[in-house]
Amino acid sequence: MSETLSDITVELGVPAGLRGVPTTDVPETKKTFTSDQEVRWCPGCGDYAILAAVQGFLPELGLRRENIVFVSGIGCSSRFPYYLDTYGMHSIHGRAPAIATGLAVTRPDLSVWVVTGDGDALSIGGNHLIHALRRNVNLTILLFNNRIYGLTKGQYSPTSELGKITKSTPMGSLDAPFNPVSLALGAEATFVARTIDSDRAHLTAVLHAAAAHRGASLVEVYQNCNIFNDGAFDLLKSPETRDDMLIRLEHGQPIRFGADLDKGIRRDQVTGALEVCAGDDPAVIVHDAHAADSSQAFALSRLADPGTLARSPIGILRQVDRATYGDRMSEQLETAVGTQGPGDLAGLLAGSDPWTVG
């Protein structure tokens, strides 16, 4: 693909995550990224808002449309690529991070996105997700978490609250849910964020930061499935409760929440755990998304109640720089060519001790 790279000027000053991806001067709009396919989610599904936000935000990146690829797995959210007029692959259940890994490491000139859901990413594909994060492949992973299986019509998912009554769990689910942000932090992710389908501005800001990050970015999007799990995030969305239930994180800012920022987060000096305190408590901690150590980000992720999600932190929990898997691989290839010269097939086939007959 080198010829596609060489005849295109790559704009200087592009964010690290998009370095190497050709840009365009031709103005792009939402329409540029809207495919001719009819969108087929249930009316009222949170996926619509996310699609609109992505289509609205992609033009701001100024990338050549043909150098953007969306790869998805299976599930409602995984229909996403069909609706974007970029390159795309709707793959198989759980495997999108693996497929995207092969694409991203061989094509550093592409902006590669993974769209997945809670079942896709955390159940059947859990292994691929954690390894993509650990390797720090240059991917932006959008994990639509609706806490339910939608496409298969309403079974509980690995993020459903304990005791969830569904078709497959008439007496309540028996297993504790994953907290995707905690999981990603535990998997050594270099970028971990959470946002909400209904908050367009927040969603867009997080997408920007995720795209700009070089490495694997995990963005958990709380997404409402109005058919099988309607209102799952109401506590976090309704004007009456949301200010007390959502902890909005801003790097470098004290962590305060509540209607009048009357609550804060401080560290318990004995146990080291984080706890809620008064907003004016002098011990309120300052959010440091770039801390080398992930303990505080992890502690923040644990504030959310596993059942109700009350006190869910949203925003960027962690963003640190670490060389990506693909960049390291490219470096090794360059080093090999630099020290041994380019490959010589005849020499390779002949080996070190050939002999001649006749």
Binding site: R65, R95, T101, P342, G343, V357
Partner: protein, 621 residues
């Protein structure tokens, strides 16, 4: 030279056997290299235990290496050894039953103590109790002589004793007139950083040679004249190495960067190891978190325009099935290498079998045809890999390359090809829109097919104007949009099948080897049975019976003339290292009654065994 007698032989089979830690593979490799340098034709087969470090001196810990070399061209590593080199009681016991009466045994006596004998179940010492009276036994204290030879070196007894394999190699090299200069150079290089070890090994090697030359125990040495191989440059090569090189060559000849996604598994891991060395060829190797990720990443790379490859064995194919099915639906080039081993389940990881044929053929949901190519010898793995890539790229399809443990680890002299003689493979990426949309502008249809090959366009990301989405859902013919239309599904299923069937037009016809032209029996094979069947057919012909031999390298689709060939013989005999998988396919496809001969012992067929089976089949016709 001493005044000893030299006897001429036309071929010899030697087996080196010892504890896993005794360095038998290295000894075998070096003897092979010396033999190749001397100019004999040869064929080798290592045999190692599944356990990495089985307890020393036990039967499960025995590792061996068999080498067949001759003054004429040969096809197999040989049925039964003429010479066994046994480094301990376990090695003797584990290999004795493979020896024909009259064979030569060179045995290291140093470990024949009551305790070690007991460990392997010998009640009395076989060296004294007459158990070996039918053999020519050279019972020698190889370890003791090695330590004596190295007395001047600053080494512990244990360290010195480790060079006993080089002493044995020196002795055997003398017996068969092998040059040892290559091994000396090899040791100089290998132990360049450890001068004492280097010099000790070289001294042990020379001591072994000198021992043969001076001792009364060996009255004769043997000469095996060089073989008349076709002129050219040769090297020794294993199947896994040849397969790796074939993939690198295919990458170079197609201009597609090679990407390997793989998870370690016996006996395929050596391909991952090998390809990871060739970064200067632009080869990217990805050791994935599991088998599924290995093939997934390869498919993702293929979507981006790379030569996507995954390597595994039977259990890994089972895990990759869904992704291979996706590749069938996406119609992207993908190379899936299955280095077969004994199954089912974990089975016999270090033993060979060809029982994944039906899995390769049918192991996916839905109608998901996948072309299958099977190499017939270690060296052929190179060309089979190139052929698999040609089919995958030309027809935009996953291809299964079915090798096996016998080919993977076996080695033979291989004529080094001229690069310009290797086929060029044209990726022919799509660069322009291919479909008018009525209003004067054009659009891109990812499933608009080439009329001849039925291949769809391969449009890689980064190509402006060809943005498209593909997936595992059924697609409308042409446009590639999701389609649930019944007629369209029927059409797409049939079209994917027709595309794979159509590959037959691009492969050579099945050729038959029938020197007399009078054969009424055809012996058919596929994969690694080529060597044993060929050797057996030669024996049968030498005994005066006409027999025809044919070998299938393409198993899906079959060469176009396969049915005609099968029908033109009174009887078809098909030996397989499975319970009749190819026979099932051929019977179903061509309604030809096929007589199967099946053994699943984890071992290749023996030529003698097959010769008996063939003779019997001829007299039955």
């Amino acid at each position: 030279m001493s005044g000893k007698q030299v006897h001429e032989l036309d071929r010899v089979i030697i087996r080196f056997a010892g504890d896993s830690g005794d360095g038998m593979q290295l000894t075998g490799d070096r003897f092979t290299a010396e033999t190749a340098a001397f100019g004999n034709d040869l064929s080798t087969l290592p045999n190692f235990p599944a356990e990495i470090r089985a307890p020393a001196g036990t039967l499960p810990g025995v590792s061996s290496f068999q080498l067949h070399f001759a003054d004429h061209d040969i096809l197999t590593p040989g049925d039964a050894p003429d010479v066994l080199v046994a480094m301990n009681p376990a090695a003797l016991k584990a290999n004795l039953e493979d020896l024909p009466r009259g064979a030569t045994i060179v045995v290291d006596t140093s470990e024949f103590t009551a305790r070690t004998l007991k460990k392997v179940g010998y009640d009395s010492n076989p060296l004294d109790d007459g158990a070996l009276s039918d053999y020519k036994v050279h019972a020698l204290d190889l370890t003791g002589m090695t330590m004596d030879a190295l007395a001047a070196f600053d080494l512990t007894r244990k360290e010195a004793s480790r060079s006993k394999n080089m002493f044995a190699l020196g002795l055997l090299s003398w017996m068969y007139g092998r040059p040892i200069e290559g091994t000396i150079q090899f040791l100089e290089k290998k132990f360049a950083k450890h001068p004492v070890i280097r010099d000790a090994n070289i001294a042990a090697l020379r001591a072994g040679w000198n021992y043969g030359e001076t001792t009364e125990d060996f009255a004769v040495s043997y000469e095996i004249k060089p073989a008349a191989l076709a002129p050219g440059r040769y090297r020794n090569i294993t199947g896994n190495l040849a397969l790796s090189y074939g993939l690198v060559a295919a990458s170079q000849r197609s201009g597609l960067p090679l990407f390997l996604g793989s998870y370690p598994i016996t006996p395929a891991s050596d391909i991952l190891h090998e390809l990871s060395k060739h970064k200067r060829f632009g080869v990217r190797t990805f050791q994935a978190e599991d088998e599924i990720a290995g093939v997934g990443a390869a498919l993702g790379a293929a979507f981006g325009g790379a030569l996507g490859v995954t390597t595994t064995s039977g259990p890994g194919i089972a895990l990759k099935s869904e992704t291979i099915g996706l590749a069938v639906s996406l119609e992207l080039p993908l190379i899936v290498c299955d280095i077969q081993r004994g199954g089912p389940s974990t089975g016999l990881p270090t033993k060979t079998e060809q029982a994944d044929l039906l899995q390769a053929m049918f192991g996916r949901n839905g109608e998901a045809p996948v072309p299958i190519v099977a190499p017939c010898s270690p060296g052929d793995c190179f060309y089979a890999a190139l052929e698999a890539v040609r089919i995958a790229v030309t027809y935009r399809t996953p291809v299964l390359l079915l090798s096996d443990g016998y080919l993977a680890n076996g080695a033979e002299p291989w004529r080094i090809p001229e690069i310009n003689d290797l086929p060029l493979i044209e990726p022919r990426f799509a660069t322009a829109r291919n479909q008018g949309n009525g209003n004067g502008s054009a659009q891109f249809w990812p499933y608009l097919r080439d009329r001849e090959t039925l291949a769809r366009p391969w449009a890689v990301p980064g190509t402006a104007g060809l943005e498209h989405r593909i997936g595992g859902l059924e697609k409308a013919d042409g446009s590639g949009n999701i389609s649930y239309d019944p007629q369209n599904h029927d059409l797409m299923v049939r079209t994917r099948q027709a595309k794979v069937d159509g590959i037959a037009a691009s492969i050579p016809p099945l050729s038959v080897d029938d020197p007399s032209g009078e054969a009424r029996l055809l012996v058919l094979g596929w994969g690694s049975t080529y060597g044993p069947i060929g050797a057996a057919a030669r024996r049968v012909r030498a005994a005066g019976y006409p027999v025809a031999q044919a070998h299938l390298r393409h198993l899906n689709p079959f060469p176009a003339n396969t049915g005609d060939v099968l029908r033109s013989y009174d009887r078809v005999l098909l030996p397989e290292m499975n319970l009749g998988q190819l026979a099932l396919l051929l019977r179903g496809r061509y309604l030809v009654d096929i007589r199967s001969y099946n053994r699943v012992r984890g071992l290749p067929f023996k030529a003698e065994e097959l010769a008996d089976v063939i003779e019997k089949a001829i007299t039955d016709v």
